[in-house]
């Protein structure tokens, strides 16, 4: 039965991917991309990688869909011609060749088995019980620290797209909805639930799947729903409080990492304090990830008068 399930899931995943790149029309491609994100999240569940599935569900099926649909609409309003989203034969063959070769070699060459044993032995010293969190926030904290800053760099790149005279404007398009309408009702209903779910994912991340990234993404998503209904005012890129929110997570992470120097080594989390240190980092990181992702989706500042 497992084989049947796997076959159907893989077929769907491939179909969604091919339809997203092989068909005509940006809108259809985008919808297939959302469907693809859902199937990939399910594949991660099937593989037991719940942490990744959570991230994929929130990013792949959630935020990216919103971002791409907005882009499609913007292109249309700008009068851009509907260019064919048709991957050329050569890149398609090249991609298939690379994927095929990688798969073939990976199946043929015996695997070295990863680092499960080492991670299991070190887990009691890491301060948390979820091995994924131990890897992300302790064993390989330097990677995660850099990754959290990568998000910020991406936001800077998005903001760089604004024109000089637009820097005074709030980010994103001017969002509004009918007062008391369905959209506004939804925007009042979902965020409280989403905040509970997001906070739960962060809090639970120490012992079970979840964590700052997953929780932060959910918080960003429900925040965006509120923003889409015009319930929250969008910030300007030079807003001090928002910049503090963007910087807080990486800053706390950096300071905690540097404080390790006093405790015996860079990015060192002594076992007795590790849990407190990691949770502190995660709380601030969640805030920053949520703020950064939400601002990334909203885009650069835009003038309030539409052309």
């Amino acid at each position: 039965m497992t084989v049947l399930f796997d076959l159907v899931l893989c077929a769907l995943m491939l179909l969604a991917a091919l339809a997203a790149i092989g068909g005509r029309g940006l809108f259809r491609a985008t919808v297939f991309f959302v469907a693809y994100g859902i199937t990939v999240a399910l594949a991660w569940v099937r593989l037991g990688a719940i942490d990744v599935a959570l991230a994929e569900a929130a990013i792949g099926a959630g935020l990216t869909g919103l971002l791409l649909l907005g882009a499609v609409a913007r292109l249309r309003r700008a009068g851009a011609p509907e260019f064919p989203v048709r991957a050329g034969l050569v890149p398609a063959l090249a991609a298939a060749g690379v994927a095929g070769a990688t798969g073939w070699v990976a199946l043929r060459v015996p695997g070295a088995g990863g680092l499960w044993t080492e991670a299991g032995e070190a887990l009691p010293l890491s301060g948390v019980e979820n091995p994924v969190t131990a890897v992300l926030l302790n064993f390989r904290a330097w990677d995660t620290l850099l990754e959290s800053i990568v998000l910020l760099a991406a936001l800077l790149a998005v903001w760089a797209l604004a024109r000089e005279e637009e820097w005074e404007a709030p980010v994103g398009p001017p969002l509004h909805a009918r007062p008391g309408g369905v959209l506004e009702g939804m925007a009042r209903l979902l965020p409280p639930v989403g905040i509970v779910v997001g906070v739960f994912l962060v809090w639970a991340g120490a012992s079970q799947p979840g964590g700052a990234f997953q929780g932060g993404t959910v918080l960003a998503a429900v925040g965006l729903i509120a923003a889409l209904a015009g319930l929250v005012a969008l910030p300007r890129p030079d807003s001090g409080s928002w910049r503090t929110a963007l910087a807080a997570g990486p800053a706390v992470f950096l300071l905690v990492g540097a404080s390790g120097l006093a405790l015996g080594g860079l990015l060192l989390f002594p076992p007795d304090w590790a849990k407190a240190m990691i949770l502190t980092v995660e709380v601030f990181l969640t805030l920053s990830i949520a703020a950064t992702l939400a601002l990334l989706v909203l885009g650069p500042p835009q003038p309030r008068r539409m052309p």
Binding site: M1, R28, F32, I50, A57, G70, A177
Partner: protein
């Protein structure tokens, strides 16, 4: 039990194949969007069915999927409003002859 749950999950996935066809075929963008919505609901169902088999934490994935199921659709209705930032309820139906 495991066998049945996996079978049921595979069967739901197969019905999603039908939704894929509707996304491909359209004809309207509303059709494509609603079919994607079905893929989302189906995905929630599959994640729930996998929970007893793989890990009960799969329910958290189902929650996130369900919570954000509406997300793409909200983006869609926003994007299809006149200024790309509004809400279809703010506008009057223009040609409602078949929609009443």
């Amino acid at each position: 039990m495991t066998g049945w749950l996996l079978f049921a999950a595979a069967a739901i996935l197969l019905t999603l194949g039908g939704a894929f066809w509707r996304v491909w075929q359209g004809p309207g963008e509303a059709d494509r969007m609603m079919a994607a919505q079905l893929v989302g609901t189906g995905g929630v169902g599959v994640a729930m069915l996998l929970a007893p088999v793989i890990s009960w934490h799969a329910l958290d994935v189902a929650i996130v999927l369900a919570l954000l199921a509406a997300f793409a659709a909200v983006g869609f209705v926003k994007a299809s409003s006149p200024d790309g930032a509004g809400d279809p309820e703010e506008a009057e139906p223009s040609e409602g002859e078949e929609g009443q």
